[in-house]
């Protein structure tokens, strides 16, 4: 039997995914839209149920958001929060992956460090905020540090777990290819754990954003967190809700993008 015949014979029934059909696209789009509508209806219901006006209506929130988005001050706050968040996320990813790789390669150290990191992860980070202020003072560095404190641990733990669960044959292959430790990590270990890394980054993304916002709420004069707390002091419910909706939309869109990326990578590597 020729190689070609065998190849055809042994080619699995697995075939490339066909292009998404319009019907399939609808099936992907309709449920989130329906969910959003249900949430808005619930929100309206809650607004009506709380007669004291503890929750702004969707319409009032949207109107306030439009006003906010038309003001220069709002975009300065967005830029401030965005800068702190971008730094926190990038540093969480770089440090988290580096630390995760190191803890996976230095197995005894990793086994000691994992429970410590899990304990730290479960601590309310607000309790450590005075310490962060003492070290970094008021301003951008403290906000970034607070973002990292939230985002670093999940990325580290997921990276370490992904490497420790890596198929040993990949590392043996790297050895027989005579790759250096650095080259093995760069060209075998990291590509092999990309789906888990994206999942870790997705979780780290949300937590870093949360950390930065909490940081702004406690000790800052700028940023969306500060504006929200300021509005809380003034009893300006529409602004609080508008900022909440703006952040939620940003988080949902970014998270959806990362989730799609993760699914695409996992689909491609489905044979593992």
């Amino acid at each position: 039997m020729s190689s070609k015949v065998l190849a055809s014979k042994t080619m699995a029934s697995k075939t490339l995914p066909s292009r998404t059909l319009p019907g399939e696209a609808l099936r992907n789009i309709v449920p989130p839209i329906v969910l959003a509508l249900v949430l808005i209806l619930c929100w309206q219901g809650l607004h009506l149920a709380t007669a004291s006006g503890a929750i702004s209506s969707p319409a009032a929130t949207l109107a306030r958001l439009v006003v906010l988005m038309g003001s220069g001050r709002f975009w300065l706050d967005v830029a401030e929060t965005g800068t702190a968040f971008a730094w926190a996320l990038v540093l969480s990813i770089v440090l988290g992956i580096g630390l995760g790789v190191a803890l996976a390669l230095l197995r005894p150290v990793g086994e000691v460090m994992e429970p410590i990191l899990v304990t730290f992860y479960s601590l309310p980070k607000v309790t450590l905020y005075p310490l962060v202020l003492l070290i970094f003072g008021l301003g951008m560095p403290a906000k970034i540090a607070f973002g990292i404190m939230h985002g670093l641990v999940p990325i580290t733990l997921l990276t370490r777990n992904a490497i420790t669960q890596l198929k040993p044959v990949y590392l043996r292959t790297a050895k027989v290819m005579r790759l250096s430790a650095f080259e093995a990590v760069r060209s075998v270990v990291l590509p092999a754990i990309i789906p888990e890394l994206v999942a870790g980054i997705r979780i780290g993304f949300s937590l870093s954003l949360l950390g930065v916002l909490i940081g702004e709420m406690f000790a800052s004069k700028r940023g969306l967190g500060f504006t929200a707390v300021n509005a809380m002091g003034l009893g300006d419910l529409d602004t609080i809700m508008a900022i909440g909706v703006f952040l939620a939309l940003f988080a949902v869109l970014a998270n959806g993008g990362l989730l799609s990326l993760e699914r695409a990578i996992r689909h491609r590597s489905a044979g593992r």
Binding site: M1, S2, S3, K4, L6, A7, T10, M11, A12, K14, T15, L16, K167, V169, Y170, R172, T173, K175, V176, M177, R178, L179, E183, S187, V188, P191, A192, I194, I265, R268, S269, A270, G271, R272
Partner: protein, 283 residues
């Protein structure tokens, strides 16, 4: 040593040429975690792999076959004794040795073509030479139509072909195969065996194949090493005497049955010993 009354193609050559790889008094002990106890897994083993021969190793489960391969590959140093490749002691993975593992070692994030080129790129070989070797290897292994496919889109047999092609492009002088067809069905194994013989004839490399299949060992090899239950020792090395242009049709030859019978006779006692130590012996 049992030798069939048939001339091996390499018999005169073996007397002249130095061995491709040698093991002298090689043993391997493993220490149990946290204890002073050790497990004697292998040896002492003395073995010379002749230049360009196809050598199969069979033995009961857990007898140290894969440990033997690891020692030869430089993945696992011997506890005692010396291992050498082309006259030089093995310390780390030597240049010129290629290994194909039992598990699917294809990289799922790379296409077939990129998988095959992987080792060449890391070895700093020029792009033109990479293209030439990859083109040859994917053609040789029947993967030409699947160059841009990902491993997840291929069957188990084809993924193993990708791994063999990835080893082949590095032009190893000693190819170590650790039950590479273990996960495949019998028919595909026979066909893959033919491919392997074709590869061996083409490259003139020395091949060491670890296998559980007596048929596979007898069909493919110039010599079959039969190992004892743990600690693994060679209890016999049998010359098959097959012609070099053999293929899977040899299984229909009456001498093939005689050969597998001879190997099984040696192996049966050892397998029963292994089963008894595992508490699964015949009642």
């Amino acid at each position: 040593m049992t030798v069939l009354a048939m001339a091996s193609r390499d018999a005169p050559k073996a007397a002249i040429e130095p061995p491709a790889a040698s093991l002298r008094g090689v043993t391997r002990h493993y220490r149990f975690p946290g204890g002073a106890k050790t497990l004697h897994a292998l040896g002492p083993i003395d073995l010379d792999l002749r230049q360009g021969e196809f050598f199969s190793v069979v033995g009961p489960s857990g007898c140290g076959k894969s440990t033997l391969l690891d020692v030869l590959a430089g993945l696992n140093p011997p506890s005692e004794g010396t291992a050498s490749f082309e006259g030089k002691p093995i310390a780390g993975v030597p240049d010129g040795i290629g290994v194909v593992f039992q598990e699917d070692a294809s990289f799922p994030w790379l296409t077939v073509e990129a998988n095959v080129a992987f080792g060449l790129k890391r070895a700093g070989i020029g792009q033109a030479e990479i293209d030439r070797r990859v083109d040859y290897a994917v053609g040789f292994m029947g993967l030409r139509d699947f160059r841009q496919s990902y491993p997840a889109q291929l069957s188990g047999g084809m993924r193993q072909r990708v791994c063999i092609a990835r080893t082949l492009v590095l032009q190893p002088r000693l190819i170590l195969l650790d039950e590479p067809f273990g996960a495949l069905d019998q028919q595909t194994r026979l066909i893959m065996g033919d491919e392997l013989l074709r590869l061996w004839r083409e490259t003139r490399a020395t091949v060491l194949l670890i296998t559980h299949s007596l048929d596979e060992a007898a069909m493919l090899a110039d010599r079959v090493g039969v190992m004892s239950a743990r600690p693994g020792l060679f209890i016999d090395i049998i010359e098959t005497g097959w012609p070099s242009d053999r293929d899977s049709r040899i299984v229909a030859d009456p001498r093939f049955g005689e050969m597998t019978g001879r190997i099984w006779e040696k192996l049966r006692t050892e397998t029963m010993k292994h089963m008894q130590t595992q508490g699964a012996g015949p009642r």
